[in-house]
Amino acid sequence: MPEPGGWRRYLRFWQSNIREDVDDELRFHLDMHERDLRAAGRAHGVAREEAERRFGELQQVREACIAIDTRRRELVRRREVMGDMWQDLRFALRTLRKSPGFTLVAVICIGLGVGVTTTILSAVHGILIRPLPYPKAEELVAVYARWTHSGTIENGVNISYQDYLSWRNDNRTFATLGMYTWEALAFSGEGEPERVDAASITANLFPLLGVTPILGRNLLPEEEHQGKSSVVLLGYRLWKRRYGGDPSIVGRTVTVAGAPLQVIGVMPQGFAFPDRGEAWIPFVVEEHIESRGNRQFAGAIGRLKPGTTLEQGQRDLDVISKRLQQEFPRENLGWDAQAMTLREDLVGDLRRPLLIFLGGVGFLLLIVCANVANLMLTRGAGRQREIGVRVAIGAARGRLVRQLLTESLVLAGLGGVLGLGLAVVGIRLFGLAMPNGLPWYIPLRLDGATLAITLGLSALTGILFGLVPAFRNTDINLTGALREGTGGSGEGARRARLRSSLVVAEVALSLVLMIGAGLLLKSYRAYTHTNIGFDPKGVLTFRVSPPEAKYPHSEQRIVFFNQLMERLRALPGVEQAGGANGIPFSGWNVQAEMTVEGHPEHPQGEPLDVHYQAVIPGFFKTLGIPIVAGRDLSPLDRDTANRVGVINETLAKQEFPGEDPLGKRIKIGRLADKEPWVTVVGVVRDFRHYRLPQPMGPAIYYPYYQWASYTQTIVLKTSGLPANLLPGVVRVIKSIDPDLPTYQVQSLEQAVNRSLWRPRMQGQVIGLFAVLALVLASVGIYGVVSYAVAQRTRELGVRMALGASRGQVVGMVVRQGALLAVIGVGAGLAGAFALTRVLATLLFGVEVTDATVFVGIPVLLGVVAVAASWLPALRAARIDPLVAMRAE
């Protein structure tokens, strides 16, 4: 494109006056014509007249020309504005290209800030703010039982069917209440048998939630009664996966848990309940669940009447519970109902970590802002002279501000793009941090709202950090700016102070984040270093459930498991084998009130609650748990008339202090109950069973062959990789019962590791924030010190010329960086002491004022600060005094 000039310059004619120009042009024509006519011999007056006559309608021509030119001026003006913007943009890109270091650091800083912020905001939005995917989800309430006694409160306990009926029928605040309990159903026939998470639900539950099948119908109330209950609702994915999305599936009979069930409907895509359940059968009222004290059902879900609050609902249930306590003291003393929003129930335990992440990300964003502001100020100072020159040669201030602003917006835009990319990755990582991925009701994604927030944030950072330095940079004293470099002006000192305070703030904020991360990581270490009391290495675990329909008698199940264990033990690579109802860290939690023979009964309301389960002998050996007294359970313990059991050390110490527990008898329930007595034949060392940090309480283990339940989790010990055993296992089970699925296959190490996902994720997220903060803070220190060195080149040169050694110069520069770090650390420590208290509930095995963390982290930060000032210091030491003094 040729330089604008010559003819083109007149495209900018809009500064001129259109009317005057048109008049001048037309007058010139008439004057010239008159002159020529006179030269041709016309008389004075006649010549003008003839020129005008030949010209025609002067006024019309004039107006037409003016109209055309006005129109054209508008067009040109618009084009100029666009051209200016384009020019500013190109100018910004050119200047940014000229300082790639600055551009790169600034873009990375903004990108990190925006990326991390967007990730956390997306998580907070998706988990805590966006309504659950049910219509009018705010009305939905989860109801559990609550055990309150002598100061101890146990929340979220399973409920009993009778209590549920009372709550449902007697309340005045709920439109309706439904109930569900967890199931796992084996689908067999057609193709591989498979086990799916499922639930048995009351017929009103899905209508209450507001979900409708896409095929067929919901359950009917009469299907809750035995004999009419052979129906099943399928989840969308199960339908697609197992039945190829057969559109005529409704009415077909499928084999579930060994029994034929009729498919009555298919639920919509994406829906799962509860959590990951994808098949639903009617909740059937059987005799044994009629007891009010039988609290074994997962929970109830209610929909509040429109306009009713959760508190009103809770008060309503409290009234009912109080009445029930009086009516049924034996079953209900100490029990009441606990209502919480469905969201609280589903994601409530994520709230605290998420809010802490939000706080952490706020800190990080502040650090990013301080860093970018610092970079901009430093750069602004460096360009003061350039801008001074441009002002001196007549650049308009508005235009200059616009150019600087364009530059910041370009930086922010680039940073925003980077941040968006990071956020996409971050959100994916966040989903991966949860075991089994995200549940369906947390659709974590980068949605319109978070996208808007990202773009808003990057634009805001751009404007903030563009505008302030832009005004400051253009509002400069001309003579001062042109003389800049002679150093020591008041303006320069003020900027230096501002930059230093920004760095101090960065260091302080970083320290708080780092200490928080230190505490959380130390806490995670405490988890992983907890002595869990068993050896999970080389142990494969999987569950098997012979269905009731096919194995109704305990003898059949005993034969099945006997055969299974025999064949598994014979597999190559299997060193030990056993089983349990629920292995450690699996969430299995069954306790019952127990009574010891010859001991006074525990008073009502202070029962001896004991964890109990049936284990297939070999379980303790497989997990490497020693028997400390008596004997282990044996495959020969089959006589149900002489039941035996092994108790753990806690139960032994608690109930038999100074006594030998061996030979003593224990039973489930109270003395009067008709439960069988169990003789203690051994004591096993305590091991952790529940998710840390929950300790193991008293426990008793029964031999499977005397308590033949349906489900067992098999454990196999190998010296190789646990996964290598799997093909053999599948073959063995097929050989015994080809319809039986193997499920929840994992190594015991995985199971333990998985249960620690929460402390691990907390440590990782805040740890990542801390690393970013540390990097940003050191970049900040490096930037300020380098700039100071550049400004002081002459001074340092003079000092060296006067005899200062290189070491002294290095020391001087490093001292400056160290001073900033020390002030920052001081402020940060104060902040950390005040703020890390919010972490208290997330910590395990570490105090909120842990000395190692509170000393180690500041030292680490100090070392990094010194290192960050070291590089510019070395550059300062290499200054040639002669060159430095001749500079300027």
């Binding site: 007149y10 024509h29 002159r35 010209f55 025609g56 002067l58």
Partner: protein, 118 residues
Amino acid sequence: MSALTPAPALDLLKGTLDLLMLKALSWGPAHGYSMARWIERLTADAFQIGEGSLYPALHRLEEREWIESEWRVSENNRRAKFYRLTSRGRQQLRAETANWTSFVEAMGKVLRTTEQPN
């Protein structure tokens, strides 16, 4: 201006005028007055239009960026607005000339023909 001049000719005239001015400028920058004289001389006043009509036409051509203008000092030392062709204008001139020529040839052929429509 003769009252006998048929009115429909004016429409034809408009496009013609544009072409005439592009042609007039093909020798180099000129102001409106000199173009009016050039047209008068060459066409022997065949069009009989008011000379003033040149100016809206010129301004329109400038709006279309076929020509550009510049104030310069004229031969008799007066400030005058000079026009010149842009490269787009030059292209336009070539295209219009070709059109015009083929139009005239076609018309001429028709008007000279002895063949009678059936």
